[in-house]
């Protein structure tokens, strides 16, 4: 049975999977930008 993940957990997974590409700090900024864009 697959564990049901919160959106926060899904974002954490996303962050981890791209951290190597962008670096931790930049990835955090991109995710924050994306979250705020999704409010629209």
């Amino acid at each position: 049975m697959e564990e049901k993940k919160t959106v926060e957990m899904l974002f954490d997974d996303l962050k981890k999977s791209h951290e190597e590409e962008f670096g931790e700090e930049e990835m955090e900024i991109i995710i924050d930008e994306m979250i705020l864009s999704m409010l629209f």
Binding site: E2, E3, K4, K5, T6, V7, E8, M9, L10, F11, D13, L14, S17, H18, E28, I29, I30, D32, E33, M34, I35, L36, S37, M38, L39, F40
Partner: protein, 388 residues
């Protein structure tokens, strides 16, 4: 070697920055505020441009080789269609002819009972309570959700890369500063636009005022903190753009209690950290000008949509740099001479003493918002006549 474009860019940015500080630049800066006007002017397809923001560059290159400007207020592509498509939700916006329109009914995903979770942790609330309601695909919490979020990320990353490139090209190749580094908001407007809708916030102000106040305060802090992390170079001469929406639709007593404190809170947060803040004062702010005395000291710019700009500058010119003056209705329907006459009057009345930026009273969204000949004539006139 310092290129001509670099020199032009620096001159223009300095011109704005002296005005932001309410000082006197070499000439009155001309700010161009538009979304799709340049795109339509150049005969490009707005839907294609929204899919590929790089096409904006072609529109800017042609338009601003014909019309003089000192700076653009933003790139004009706030809405990220591909991001919302991958999440099966169009957001709170709909498109018509490339113009992005706000759709009120889509902004009511939050119930009154959700205030408690929002106040406890606004970011957690957005992620775990709000997004699953807004984007059903994210509510499953399984592989489908992960895949959708990953696709949304790819779409966002692509849009971001293109926007950054467009920004650099516009500034470096065309020598045109793009002033807004980010568009921000604060508590009451966020509750209104994204969470509760107009009817919701007006009801909340009357039925659960304390929850509205607490939520407004934590949201203002949370969003401002995130914005400062994203745009972390306030010394670069650019601005944080904050459009003001809910305030003037409230009764004066409600404005004082439910809007003004958070407007001051957000201005204090940014100005204390040395940011330049641009308030887009939508609707008529004339009855509220007395409150500007309580604004913090710092670089604040106000773009006024309505009201007598001469009177406004006299009353609040000591607190903020004033921008506006050119009605788009006249650019659209007036003659060239009428537009020049208006531009002359505005410069005569508002330019003395500095701290003034010439721009339109509204964003030019579509081609009908201004005739090319009129805009060109008014800008050419201000560029020459606006010398200090």
């Amino acid at each position: 070697m310092y290129s001509l474009k670099e020199e032009l860019y620096t001159q223009r940015l300095n011109r704005f920055n002296l005005a932001f500080k309410r000082q006197i630049p070499d000439r009155v800066p001309i700010l161009f505020m538009s979304e799709m006007w340049p795109v339509h002017h150049c005969g490009l397809s707005s839907s294609e441009v929204l899919k590929n923001p790089l096409l904006f560059f072609d529109a800017f290159k042609k338009t601003f080789s014909e019309i003089y400007i000192d700076g653009l207020y933003s790139l004009g592509n706030l809405w990220i269609e591909s991001l919302f498509n991958t999440l099966n939700n169009t957001g709170s916006y709909v498109l018509s002819d490339g113009i992005v329109n706000y759709e009120e009914r889509n902004s009511c995903y939050m119930d009154v009972s959700d205030y408690y979770a929002l106040i406890k942790d606004p970011l957690k609330f957005m992620l775990n309570e709000f997004f699953p309601k807004k984007f059903e695909i994210l509510s499953y919490g399984d592989t489908r959700s992960a895949q959708a979020l990953n696709q949304a990320f790819q779409a966002y990353r692509d849009h971001r890369q293109k926007s950054m490139y467009l920004f650099e090209q516009t500034e470096n190749v065309l020598g045109i500063p793009v002033l807004a580094r980010t568009v921000a908001s604060f508590g009451p407007d966020i509750l209104h636009e994204f969470f509760r809708g107009f009817q919701g916030v007006v009801t909340d102000i009357n039925r659960c005022p304390q929850l509205f106040l607490e939520a407004s305060s934590v949201l203002t802090s949370c969003i401002t903190e995130m914005k400062m992390k994203i745009y972390n170079t306030p010394e670069d001469g650019h601005i944080v753009m904050i459009p003001l929406h809910l305030g003037t639709f409230l009764k004066p007593k409600d404005f004082e209690k439910f809007y003004l404190p958070f407007l001051i809170q957000v201005l204090e947060l940014y100005t204390r950290a040395d940011y330049t803040v641009c308030l887009f004062l939508e609707n008529d702010w004339t009855p509220y000008l007395e409150y500007f005395e309580s604004f913090p000291k710092g670089r604040i710019l106000g773009i006024f949509e309505y009201g007598n700009l001469h009177e406004i500058k006299k009353r609040v010119g000591n607190y903020l740099c004033v921008a506006g003056g050119m009605p788009i209705s006249q650019l659209a329907y007036g003659t060239k001479q009428q537009c020049i006459d208006t531009a002359k009057r505005v410069i005569d009345e508002c330019a003395p003493g500095g701290g003034f930026i010439f721009t339109t009273d509204k964003l030019m969204l579509s081609l009908n918002d201004g005739r090319f000949e009129n805009i060109r004539a008014a800008h050419e006139f201000v560029h020459e006549y606006g010398k200090y």
